[in-house]
């Protein structure tokens, strides 16, 4: 009896293992994509900032980067599944509070999405005088979330 059950156990275990590792792989790839998206958005912030500081800002660059930022912000909603932090990426800077305080995280990340959308709208409209404030709001939204939900940047 036991002998006959053994293959079944093995198969069940194998399926379980494959399933969990596939899930973990999936979470790891989400973490990877999230990091890439954050870098893209950080790069967009840098590029817009440089134009805003410039004496001759290039509106074309601002429009393109603001669109990139907006698109990245909308990707974020699916980029923080539970377990996609340190568990799958030892270098992850995503704090566990993201999942222990989901309501707060959602509120604060929604604020960011709103700010990024607004910046994009202002940029596409070519509303140069409203750009600095819109940019500032996005920056504050970045910071607000990073302060609470991202491992502190030591340097």
């Amino acid at each position: 009896m036991k002998l006959r059950l053994k293959p079944a156990y093995i198969i069940a275990c194998a399926i379980g293992l494959v399933a969990t590792s596939a899930l973990a792989l999936d979470l790891a790839s989400v973490a990877h994509d999230r990091k890439a998206n954050m870098k893209t958005m950080g790069g967009a912030m840098k590029a817009i900032n440089e134009q805003l500081k410039s004496a001759t800002p290039d509106l074309g660059i601002i429009k393109a980067q603001a669109a990139k930022l907006d698109a990245g912000a909308h990707l974020m909603a699916d980029q923080f599944p539970e377990g996609s932090g340190l568990k799958v990426d030892p270098k992850s800077e995503a704090l566990d509070t993201i999942w222990s305080d989901k309501a707060k995280f959602k509120q604060i990340s929604d604020d960011y999405v709103k700010a990024a959308s607004n910046l994009n709208i202002v940029a596409q409209a070519g509303n140069a005088s409203a750009l600095p404030n819109a940019y500032h709001d996005v920056g504050q939204a970045c910071k607000a979330c990073h302060t609470q939900f991202k491992k502190r940047d030591e340097h």
């Binding site: 870098k39 950080g42 840098k46 900032n49 970045c142 940047d153 340097h155």
Partner: protein, 213 residues
């Protein structure tokens, strides 16, 4: 009888560096990146002045006077050879290490970018976001190395003050120390050397403050 070992410019440089690096550390920790960048700019100006002063300053501040080879360090440490006034051969190694690491902290800081792409060093526009993040990381690592050197520096001063009974801190404040046999005071620099050094230092600090605004 006391003799003069450190000119006023060297002493002011030293204590301004202590205060400004401390302030730069605090302003970063407290999240005042605008002040952090201003402090860093002034430190850069101080460093430019110090290099100039190392070439044309008072005798004890000059690199040619205090930077000696490994043999001089060996003779000083193991044979107790006298070294004259100013930095001893081993202390000179520490001074050069401190100056180099501060230069590295500044150099990386000029290109650093924060995680949000919001705050950045004045030359970060020349490089990508990823490279800027790397510069920021190296800026922090170099500062850790500086912290270690500062601890070593303070321990060494404690050793000389308490064990060897040499009033080093007093000397860095008043510029004077008790004379030993056959010792003369420092040879001061020319006024024009001081003026040019001040102009170079101030121009560097001012320029970087404007660029990082």
């Amino acid at each position: 009888m006391n003799i003069k070992v450190w000119d006023l410019a060297t002493r002011l440089f030293h204590w301004a560096l202590v205060i400004l690096i401390g302030f730069a550390w605090w302003s970063f920790e407290a999240g005042h990146l605008d002040w952090h960048k201003k402090a860093g700019s002034v430190v850069a100006g101080l460093m430019v002045f110090r290099v100039w002063w190392g070439l044309f300053g008072g005798s004890t501040a000059r690199f040619s006077q205090f930077v000696r080879g490994p043999k001089a360090v060996y003779d000083y440490v193991f044979k107790g050879k006298k070294s004259g006034i100013g930095h001893n051969p081993l202390g000179a190694v520490s001074v050069i290490a401190l100056l180099l690491i501060i230069a590295a902290v500044i150099a990386f800081g000029l290109f650093a970018i924060d995680t949000d792409g919001l705050e950045s060093g004045p030359f970060s526009n020349l490089i990508s976001y990823d490279q800027g993040r790397l510069a920021s990381h190296l800026h922090g690592l170099a500062f850790k190395a500086l912290e270690a050197l500062v601890v070593l520096h303070i321990l060494a001063i404690g050793f000389y003050s308490l064990v060897k009974k040499q009033p080093l801190i007093t000397a860095m404040i008043t510029g004077k120390k008790p004379a030993q046999d056959g010792e003369d005071g420092l040879k001061p620099a020319n006024l024009w050397a001081l003026l040019i050094g001040l102009i170079l230092g101030c121009a560097t600090a001012y320029g970087l403050i404007i660029l990082s605004a």
